[in-house]
C-alpha cells in the first residue's frame, strides 16, 4: 500500500510542473497584455507608461526567463501581488477565499452522496418502477438545467416573491447586532440557495452513476449465490451489492471534483459569495494576471491531490487496483 501511495505521489510531480506550465502559458500566449489595461489615453504618455509597466512586471523579458522567475517564486509560495489598486499579495487573497469555496464544495458533496446513494439504489433495485421513471426524468432535467438559470429562478421565487431567503452575500447588514445563534442562522440561510443550486446538477449525475453501478453489481453471480444462500433481500442489497456498487463511486467523486469546483464560479458570482470562483471572475474582468495564475495553480493543484486521495481510497477498499493498474 505504502509503495503504491509513494508511486502515485511521485507520478504527481510531473503533473504539478505541468500545471504551472499550462497556467503560465494560457495567460502569456494570449494576444492581450496585462500592461495594456493600466495605461491612459494620451498616446505618447501611454506608450511610455506601457513600456515602464512592462519593465516593472518583467514582461519585456523572454517568456522562458519569465516562466523560470515565476517558478522560482512559486517554490517559495510567493504568488506575487494583485494588479488591483490595493496591491495585496495573491496568496493572502486566496487564503481568505479558499475556506468558503472548500466549505461550499464539501457540504455540496456530502449532500449529493447522502441523497444520490439511496436514490440510485432504489431506482436500480426497482428498475422500471414509477420511482425509477420519475428519477430518470429528474436526471435528464437536472443535466439540461443551466445552474445560473436555476439560481435566477430560485432568487425570484424565494428571495423576491416569497422573501424567505437572502439572495446575496454571506451575512446580513445587521450581522454585528445579532446574537451568536442568530448569526449562525443568518449564515446558514445565506448558504441555502447557493448550496441548493450547486447540488442540483451534481445530484442528477451521481444518482445516475449509482444506479448504473448498482444495476451491474446486481447481475453478478455472487449476488445470486447470496440470494441462494437464503439471505434476506435487505442484506443482499444493503450489504453485498451496495458495498461493491460504491467502489466506482469513490473514483467518480474524485474525477468530478474539477466540475464541482468549476461550477462554484457561476454560483459564487450570482450569489455574491466571496470565494475563489468570484475572485476568478473579478480577476478575469480586471485582467489581474497574478491573481488569475495563482488561482489556476492553486485550484488545479487541489484537484490533483483530491484525485490522488480518491485513487488511494479506492485502492484501500479494492486491493485489486494496486496490482492491475501497474500499466500506467
Amino acid at each position: 500500500m505504502l509503495a503504491y501511495a509513494l508511486r502515485r505521489l511521485f507520478l504527481a510531480v510531473p503533473l504539478l510542473i505541468g500545471i504551472t506550465f499550462v497556467s503560465f502559458l494560457v495567460i502569456h500566449l494570449a494576444p492581450g497584455d496585462p500592461a495594456e489595461m493600466q495605461t491612459g489615453d494620451v498616446p505618447a504618455e501611454a506608450k511610455r507608461a506601457y513600456e515602464q509597466l512592462r519593465k516593472e512586471f518583467g514582461l519585456d523579458q523572454p517568456l522562458p526567463v519569465q516562466y523560470w522567475n515565476w517558478l522560482k517564486r512559486l517554490v517559495r509560495l510567493d504568488f506575487g501581488k494583485s494588479f488591483a489598486p490595493h496591491g495585496r499579495p495573491v496568496l493572502t487573497m486566496i487564503g481568505e477565499r479558499l475556506p468558503i469555496t472548500l466549505l461550499l464544495n464539501v457540504v455540496e458533496m456530502l449532500i449529493i452522496v447522502a441523497l444520490a446513494v439511496p436514490i440510485g439504489v432504489l431506482s436500480a433495485t426497482r428498475q422500471y418502477s414509477t420511482f425509477d421513471k420519475v428519477t430518470t426524468v429528474f436526471v435528464f432535467i437536472g443535466f439540461a438545467t443551466p445552474d445560473f438559470w436555476l439560481a435566477l429562478l430560485l432568487m425570484i421565487l424565494f428571495g423576491i416573491q416569497l422573501g424567505w431567503l437572502p439572495i446575496s452575500g454571506l451575512r446580513s447588514m445587521n450581522w454585528e447586532y445579532m446574537s451568536f445563534w442568530q448569526q449562525q442562522w443568518d449564515f446558514l440561510s445565506h448558504l441555502a440557495l447557493p448550496i441548493l443550486v450547486a447540488t442540483f446538477g451534481g445530484l442528477a449525475g451521481f444518482s445516475r452513476y449509482m444506479r448504473q453501478s448498482m444495476l451491474e453489481v446486481i447481475r453478478q453471480d455472487y449476488i445470486q449465490s447470496a440470494r441462494a444462500k437464503g439471505l434476506a433481500e435487505r442484506v443482499v442489497v444493503g450489504k453485498h451489492a451496495l458495498r461493491n456498487a460504491l467502489l466506482p463511486i469513490v473514483t467518480i467523486l474524485g474525477l468530478s471534483l474539477p466540475g464541482l469546483i468549476g461550477g462554484s464560479v457561476i454560483v459564487e458570482w450570482i450569489f455574491a459569495i466571496p470565494g475563489m470562483g468570484q475572485l476568478m471572475v473579478q480577476a478575469a474582468f480586471e485582467r489581474d494576471y497574478p491573481v488569475l495564475m495563482g488561482n489556476l495553480v492553486i485550484v488545479s493543484t487541489l484537484t490533483l491531490f483530491a484525485n490522488l486521495a480518491a485513487d488511494l481510497a479506492y485502492s484501500l477498499v479494492d486491493p485489486r487496483i494496486r496490482v492491475s493498474r501497474r500499466r500506467r
Binding site: 505541468g18 499550462v22 495567460i27 438559470w149 429562478l153
Partner: protein
C-alpha cells in the same frame, strides 16, 4: 444502417429529441425571416414591457423584443455548439489515434497531456484565457473547443487499442501500407461510432458552457443577442422583469434536453455495448 434506424425509431424519446433538434436548427436558420421585430432596435417607449400579444416574451431594458433576440440567439448557440465540438473532435481524433496506434512514448506523452488538462476546472481555465482575448463568437468557439477534446482523445485511443490487434489491420500492415493510410482508411472508420455519440452529447455541453460564459459577461458580447447574455440582463432586472430571466433559460433547457435525448438514442441504437464505453452517465432508463 437499416438496423440502426429500426432500433432508433423504437426509442420514442430519442425521436422526439431529434425532431426538436431539427426544429431548433430550422428556427435558427429562419430567424431573420420569422423574427417579429428587429432584435437590436431599441424603443424607449417600451422599456421592460411584460409579455403581450405584440411582444410575446416581453421587452428588455432597451425596449427590444425578447422573442426576436432569442431567435437570433439560437443562431449563436447552434454555431457555438457545432463549431466548438468540431474543433474538439478534430484535436481529440488526431491525438487519440496517434496515441492509440503508435503506443509507447507518444502514447504516454499524449495521455499525460490529457491527464493534465483534466486537472483544471474548466471554467477557471476558460476565464483565464478569456480575460486576455477580445471576446467574440469566434474566440468562444475556439476556447470551448480547445478545452474540451480530452474525452474524445481517450475514447479514440481506447478504440484504436482494441482495433489495431484485429486481422484486417494486421493484414494491411503486412502489405506495407503507411501508418497514415491504415489509421485513416482502416481503423478510424471503425472507431467513429462512439466518437459520433460523444460529439452529439458534446454539443449541448458546449451550448451550456457558452451560455454560462455569456451570462458572466465574458462570452459573446452585446449587442449581439445570446441566451446567456439575455439572462445576464435579466439578472440586473430580476426584481422588475421575470420574463427576461425565464424564457431564455427555458430555451436552453429544451435545447440541451433534446440533444441529450438524441445523443443517448443514437448511442443505444448504434450499439448497446456503448452505454459504458462512451463514458457518459445519462442513459435512457427504460
Amino acid at each position: 444502417m437499416r438496423g440502426f434506424w429500426k432500433a432508433f425509431k423504437r426509442n420514442k424519446l430519442a425521436v422526439v429529441g431529434g425532431i426538436v433538434v431539427a426544429c431548433l436548427a430550422l428556427l435558427a436558420v429562419l430567424a431573420p425571416a420569422i423574427s417579429p421585430w428587429d432584435p437590436n432596435r431599441p424603443d424607449v417607449r417600451k422599456i421592460l414591457d411584460p409579455p403581450s400579444s405584440r411582444h410575446p416574451f416581453g421587452t428588455d431594458q432597451l425596449g427590444r423584443d425578447v422573442l426576436s433576440r432569442m431567435l437570433y440567439g439560437s443562431q449563436v448557440s447552434l454555431a457555438v455548439g457545432f463549431v466548438s465540438v468540431g474543433i474538439a473532435a478534430t484535436i481529440g481524433i488526431l491525438l487519440g489515434s496517434a496515441a492509440g496506434y503508435h503506443g509507447g512514448v507518444i502514447d504516454a506523452a499524449i495521455m499525460r497531456l490529457v491527464d493534465l488538462m483534466l486537472v483544471f476546472p474548466r471554467f477557471f481555465l476558460l476565464l483565464a484565457v478569456l480575460a486576455f482575448l477580445k471576446p467574440s463568437i469566434w474566440t468562444i468557439m475556439a476556447v470551448i473547443g480547445l478545452t474540451g477534446w480530452m474525452g474524445v482523445a481517450r475514447l479514440v485511443r481506447a478504440e484504436f487499442l482494441a482495433l489495431k490487434e484485429r486481422e484486417f489491420v494486421m493484414w494491411s500492415q503486412s502489405t506495407g501500407a503507411s501508418a497514415f493510410r491504415i489509421i485513416w482508411r482502416h481503423i478510424l472508420p471503425n472507431a467513429m461510432a462512439p466518437v459520433l455519440v460523444a460529439m452529439t452529447l458534446g454539443i449541448p455541453a458546449a451550448i451550456l458552457t457558452e451560455s454560462g460564459l455569456s451570462f458572466l459577461g465574458l462570452g459573446v458580447q452585446p449587442p449581439r443577442a445570446t441566451w446567456g447574455n439575455i439572462l445576464n440582463e435579466g439578472k440586473d432586472a430580476i426584481e422588475l422583469a421575470w420574463w427576461l430571466s425565464v424564457y431564455p433559460g427555458v430555451a436552453i433547457l429544451i435545447t440541451v434536453l433534446a440533444y441529450n435525448l438524441l445523443g443517448e438514442g443514437i448511442r443505444d441504437a448504434l450499439d448497446p455495448r456503448l452505454r459504458q464505453a462512451a463514458g457518459r452517465v445519462v442513459s435512457r432508463g427504460r
